[in-house]
């Protein structure tokens, strides 16, 4: 499509009020600005700025969550137009290997065919944590190729000052068009110096169109993103990698009703002892009609921090073409390791109005009751302008 270009933006401001358990009032404020432009030569640009503040304690956080220019070098392929060789420069979300961070730098996804290519990247990896302003150098290269239906990927990444931490990532993924329609994935990260670091194995089976089941085993060894971050949160809670075994199935009871069950077991060391976590969840997703949906959920969670029995209900409805209502109800009973055991209730209700073609507004109310608050209410309102 040839074009000079088009630019759109939206801006949202919201203000809320609530009281903490010391009866002090808080006035959190949120502002975001989002710009998106694409031009006749195919160049795209995007900026997302966010600002958070709590007026009562004057705590500001301003951050561009995204700011990038994308320059396409090729058109992509007929059956895979998204596989464009391009240069992406600026700040964007980065996800490679087992890493997830904000990248301040450049990425060059490139393709030699619709079934093969790679990504070259370099810059500074920044944590997603809003409270931290820390980053460390990162660079790397990953390559992938589809070989007889096997998706093969390998990559080398170098982290930290002097790039003295290096990891090799490898991945194999394959989906078969046979009985049970199995899909299998194996993903591995190896430290160049110390050897094995993290892995993930997954098997998904689809015995029939309406029923699928997945089994996953992972051994994760989280690491901080930046050298100069404060104390790494994971090390407060665990002293070893965490092993997770998870199984889930989804059954499409009718075209409008899905039933899902998820079972998880987690195991890691905390100090000298092994700690186990167990979680069981079941939920229904009922699409009542094109305007309404209802989702009940029941969950049980146990760890050395305590035990939780949780139930919830989510309801969404387009009341008119211009009005949308969202309702979340939850009731939970918990029994914590510090001896506190009680019921906790929370209701979150939001109503969104479309005020003409350029404005929307949302009012959001949360009420909760638990061992800290006999009755706590929080109110937020936001207005968004689109152009």
């Amino acid at each position: 499509m040839s074009a000079h270009g088009v630019a759109t933006f939206s801006t949202t401001g919201s203000l809320g009020v609530y009281r903490d358990d010391n009866e002090q009032s808080h006035y959190p404020m949120y502002y975001s600005f989002s710009y998106s432009g694409f031009h006749s030569n195919g160049i795209e640009s995007r900026v997302d700025m966010i600002m958070n503040n709590d007026f009562s304690i004057n705590e500001w956080h301003v951050m561009p969550s995204q700011a990038q220019v994308i320059v396409p070098l090729t058109q992509g392929y007929v059956s895979a137009p998204y596989r464009q060789t391009r240069i992406e420069a600026g700040r964007s979300l980065f996800a490679e290997g087992f890493d997830l961070a904000l990248l301040d730098g450049a990425k060059v996804p490139f393709y030699w065919s619709e079934k093969g290519g790679g990504t070259l990247y370099g810059g500074w990896a920044r944590t997603l944590d809003l409270y931290e302003d820390a980053s460390s150098p990162i660079s790397g290269l990953s390559l992938f190729q589809d070989v007889y239906g096997y998706f093969l990927k390998a990559g080398l990444s170098a982290h930290r000052e002097g790039f003295d931490q290096k990891y090799i990532d490898s991945l194999v993924f394959k989906q078969w068009d046979v009985w049970l329609s199995p899909a299998a994935m194996y993903k591995l990260e190896t430290d160049v110096v110390t050897g094995f670091n993290q892995s993930l194995t997954e098997l998904t089976l689809t015995p029939m169109d309406s029923f699928s089941v997945t089994l996953q085993h992972s051994l994760r060894n989280p690491r901080r993103v930046a050298e100069n971050e404060d104390v790494f949160l994971y090390k407060i809670l665990a002293t070893s990698p965490v092993e997770v075994v998870q199984g889930a199935f989804n059954l499409e009871i009718t075209e409008a009703l899905d039933w899902q069950v998820i079972l998880s077991n987690m195991r890691y060391k905390s100090g000298a002892l092994y700690s186990n976590g167990d979680e069981q969840e079941t939920n229904l997703q009922w699409r009542i009609n094109s305007r309404q949906s209802l989702s009940p959920v029941f969950r049980h969670l146990k760890s050395y921090g305590g035990e939780l029995w949780d139930s919830g209900l989510n309801y969404q409805v387009m009341m008119t073409d211009r009005t949308r209502l969202k309702l979340d109800l939850a009731a939970a009973y918990f029994n914590k390791i510090n001896g506190i055991h009680a019921w906790a209730y929370q209701a979150r209700n939001g109503i969104e109005f479309l005020l003409g073609p350029n404005f929307s507004t949302m009012t959001w109310v949360e009420v909760e009751r638990n061992h800290l608050y006999a009755f706590d209410a929080r109110v937020y309102a936001n207005v968004t302008y689109f152009q």
Partner: protein
């Protein structure tokens, strides 16, 4: 542990077995339904000014690529109503490139976003999507823009956190000790805890 080793080895054996077929291409399982009948779904009046500013001509969308089924010269030509562009041409602009006053822009045209999602998205997808995004992020671009990721992972509104379930302020101590790795996906340092646990519970 023995069962886990057997499971891992079984998966690896399956991966490298000689039995392999091409993976099926994704297509919606159920018929795709639109909010209006297809001939009426596109509003020229809402788009004409934008198209003019972008120097987009009629033939950009109406490519006259539909051929008449009849071959003889006296047969009627293709009716005007058939000179329609490929449906995916809407996605050229409406996949995250244009800011619209609705949180899910797919609902602009589609009645049921569940029916246009791949089956994988119905199976514990909130926990599994990261692995697939790290595997092949560009394949997500068939339907999603960068904003899909950033609205949860980096565009954080501390006044109204929506990523966590209700009652998370109460239950997070139990959850963090069940799987500490889950927390550090977004919260990497102890400052996250200090914000509340030294200044009064919020």
């Amino acid at each position: 542990m023995l069962m886990l080793h057997i499971f891992n080895n079984t998966v690896i054996a399956i991966l490298f077995s000689t039995v392999s077929f091409a993976a099926p291409n994704y297509s919606p399982k159920h018929p795709v339904q639109f909010v209006k009948p297809w001939p009426k779904i596109f509003d020229h009046s809402k788009h004409s000014e934008k198209f003019k500013s972008m120097n987009i001509s009629c033939s950009e969308c109406h490519t006259f690529s539909v051929k008449s089924a009849a071959s003889d010269p006296l047969s009627p030509g293709v009716p005007k109503g058939f000179l329609k562009p490929d449906r995916k041409i809407c996605h050229d602009c409406h996949l995250g490139k244009v800011n619209l006053p609705r949180s899910n822009e797919c609902t602009l045209c589609h009645t049921n976003t569940h029916d246009i999602m791949p089956d994988s998205h119905n199976l514990n997808w909130k926990k599994r999507h990261g692995t697939f995004a790290q595997m092949d992020r560009d394949s997500c671009r068939e339907c999603h823009s960068e904003k899909t990721c950033s609205q949860c992972h980096s565009q954080r509104d501390i006044s109204k956190p929506q990523v966590h379930r209700p009652n998370f302020r109460i239950s997070h101590s139990i959850e963090a000790r069940a799987n500490p790795q889950k927390c550090v996906t977004c919260h990497t340092t102890i400052n996250t805890c200090v914000q509340c646990h030294t200044k009064g519970v919020k």
